[in-house]
């Protein structure tokens, strides 16, 4: 109990204090960044300590186990993002210290939604992380792209929140309460399922679909990614999504795990997954802007994650969480590479990366490893996530879905390898000047690669920790075929 509280307070107070003393902190940017990083790392450690201390906070927030793991993933994401920002602070000129507060709040929001066992808290968590990312996307307030991206993101995000909240209100009516167990009990006791449930479920999935950028709710993604500051895009691609996908799994299995209902959401998720993977991958194929390409790639990746949820099994949920962890390392690493190279004078178009292998071999090698992990090359984190997701789908009897998912990885290879081919197999456009990447950026990238390699090579301990955390949910999950 104590440790979780400390961790949550660290994130909340750390963010608030940074905002309060922003003008003071601005005078010493290095210390501010260090402070933000310290808060995130400390929160990570306290979440880790709270792992074996289950409990409930105010009846609304689950402690220990799954929420501890969620907290660890989110704090990790915050720490990696802050590292990326530290690598090129002068990019984030005006109001430097606010960016750390917003990153911490995004992590806090994600943690709250994962641990929530109450619809209200779930909503608050989602909104907290959404509002923080709206501001982060529009952080370059003097740049039109950034503002344009933030506005689009805000409008569609507000729509998504409204849909989600509408769904929650109907679920509140159908389930007779806001608590997950209350809803599950009411629905299980009902002779016929209340009619409000179905539109509620549909709206809920649509709302989550927007937040997770699942096709057909993904229209905001590419613009938001392209216009946002690169590290904001990095956070956007993993933070709220890792939180929302685990929260969605939690909600679906705990409140709506009844077999009559799980069959329906499973079908819905299967279709969402198939559409998301296929459309995301196909649209990523001919993107010329790297951030836009990674935007579509993250759409496709989320589709693959959803396959694990669609399996509807404990193993599937386990794979989803491991995937999210690996994806956090990988995608933040990829975006940090782009940010660091941008800082060193390399553009953000795929063509700007021609011959990078000669101009800056170390950074190019690390970026290549992140791209390979995204593509799903063995012994890297992306492969472990994909392997376990596919395995859970096959074991749940969803062979067709698994086949589509696996074929999609082949499509994905095309565009990831287009970038790799550009970097290594093509000569530089201009006279190959060497590119200097600063030391902090290299450290951040190296840390990311270590994470990717460790998760990809030895996923066993992570899987076991996740499995133990998921055990309490075991009874509630229905294995569907």
């Amino acid at each position: 109990m104590v440790f979780s509280l400390i961790a949550l307070l660290l994130l909340a107070l750390g963010g608030s204090m940074t905002l309060l003393f922003a003008t003071v902190l601005e005078r010493n940017p290095v210390m501010t960044a260090g402070g933000g990083l310290g808060v995130a790392v400390l929160a990570l450690m306290f979440f880790a300590l709270s792992y074996e201390q289950p409990g409930v906070l105010l009846g609304m927030y689950q402690l220990g186990g799954l929420s501890a793991i969620g907290g660890m993933i989110l704090s990790l994401i915050a720490a990696l993002t802050i590292l990326g920002v530290m690598a090129n602070p002068h990019k984030y000129r005006a109001g430097l210290s606010e960016i750390y507060a917003l990153i911490l709040f995004t992590a806090l929001g994600g943690t709250l939604m994962i641990g929530a066992n109450n619809l209200l808290l779930l909503y608050i968590g989602i909104e907290l992380s959404s509002y923080s990312t709206y501001i982060l996307v529009g952080y370059y307030r003097d740049e039109r792209y950034s503002t344009e991206a933030a506005t689009k993101y805000f409008v569609l995000g507000a729509l998504a929140s409204a849909l989600l909240l509408y769904g929650i209100s109907l679920l509140f009516g159908a389930g007779g309460g806001l608590y997950y167990d209350q809803i599950a009990a009411t629905l299980a006791a009902a002779d016929t399922l209340p009619a409000l449930l179905w539109p509620g479920l549909a709206l809920l999935l649509a709302g989550f679909g927007f937040k997770l950028a699942l096709v057909p709710f993904h229209a905001w993604t590419p613009d938001a990614y392209q216009g946002a500051p690169t590290m904001a895009a990095a956070l956007l691609s993993v933070g709220p999504k890792a939180g929302a996908v685990i929260a969605l799994g939690n909600l679906l299995t705990q409140a709506l795990g009844l077999e009559a209902i799980s069959g329906v959401w499973q079908q819905a998720l299967i279709w969402l997954a198939v559409l998301t993977m296929t459309v995301g991958n196909l649209q990523a194929l001919n993107q010329r802007n790297l951030k836009r390409l990674l935007g579509y790639s993250s759409v496709a990746q989320l589709g693959t994650i959803i396959v694990g949820l669609a399996a509807g099994t404990l193993a599937g949920f386990q794979a989803v969480i491991l995937y999210a962890l690996g994806y956090a390392f990988t995608n933040i690493g990829a975006f940090t590479s782009i940010a660091a190279l941008r800082d060193a004078g390399v553009g953000e178009e795929v063509d700007d990366y021609a011959g990078l292998g000669k101009r800056q071999p170390q950074a190019a090698l690390l970026f290549t490893l992140f791209l390979l992990s995204l593509a799903g090359v063995p012994l890297l984190a992306g492969f472990a996530g994909k392997l376990f997701v596919f395995k859970s789908a096959v074991d749940a009897g969803l062979i067709v879905l698994a086949t589509i998912a696996v074929l999609n990885t082949v499509i994905a290879y095309f565009y990831y390898f287009r970038v790799i081919v550009k970097m290594w197999l093509q000569p530089a456009a201009d006279e190959a000047q060497p590119v200097n990447v600063n030391a902090i950026a290299m450290t951040a990238l190296a840390l990311g690669v270590i994470g990717v390699l460790v998760i990809g090579t030895f996923p066993g301990p992570f899987l076991e920790a996740i499995a133990t955390a998921l055990e309490p949910l075991g009874g509630l999950i229905i294995v569907g075929r």
């Binding site: 619809l119 209200l120 909503y123 608050i124 909104e127 509002y131 709206y134 501001i135 529009g138 307030r141 003097d142 039109r144 792209y145 503002t147 344009e148 991206a149 933030a150 506005t151 689009k152 805000f154 409008v155 507000a158 729509l159 929140s161 409204a162 909240l165 509408y166 209100s169 109907l170 509140f172 009516g173 007779g176 309460g177 806001l178 409000l196 613009d223 392209q226 216009g227």
Partner: protein
């Protein structure tokens, strides 16, 4: 006799109006108002459900929605002000540069 369904229907109608406004208006302030209508539609739902199902948590929920809506509008207004500052107009029209 008013039943829960009447209130839910009212909520649905309000929601539809808000949705229409959000998707069709070009003025950013109007869009913001549409967002408010959406949230108010949900408020009607929640309060009605709380009243008819005798659920005190619904009232708490409603209060939270009001507070969160205020925060959302604050963020939105800040962004839209910035659009106005950069483009001189507060509509969605200048917001199509990125695709090229």
């Amino acid at each position: 006799m008013l039943t829960l369904n009447h209130f839910l229907a009212l909520g649905a109608i309000l929601f539809a109006i808000g949705l229409y406004g959000l998707l069709s208006r070009r003025n950013l302030v109007a869009i913001l108002m549409s967002v408010e209508i959406l949230l108010n539609a949900i408020l009607v739902n929640v309060v009605a459900i709380a009243r008819f199902n005798d659920q005190a948590q619904g009232d708490v929920f409603a209060l939270f929605i009001i507070a969160i809506a205020a925060a959302e509008v604050a963020v939105g207004l800040a962004l839209f002000l910035n659009v106005f500052r950069l483009n001189g107009v507060a509509t969605v029209d200048p917001l199509r540069r990125m695709k090229e």
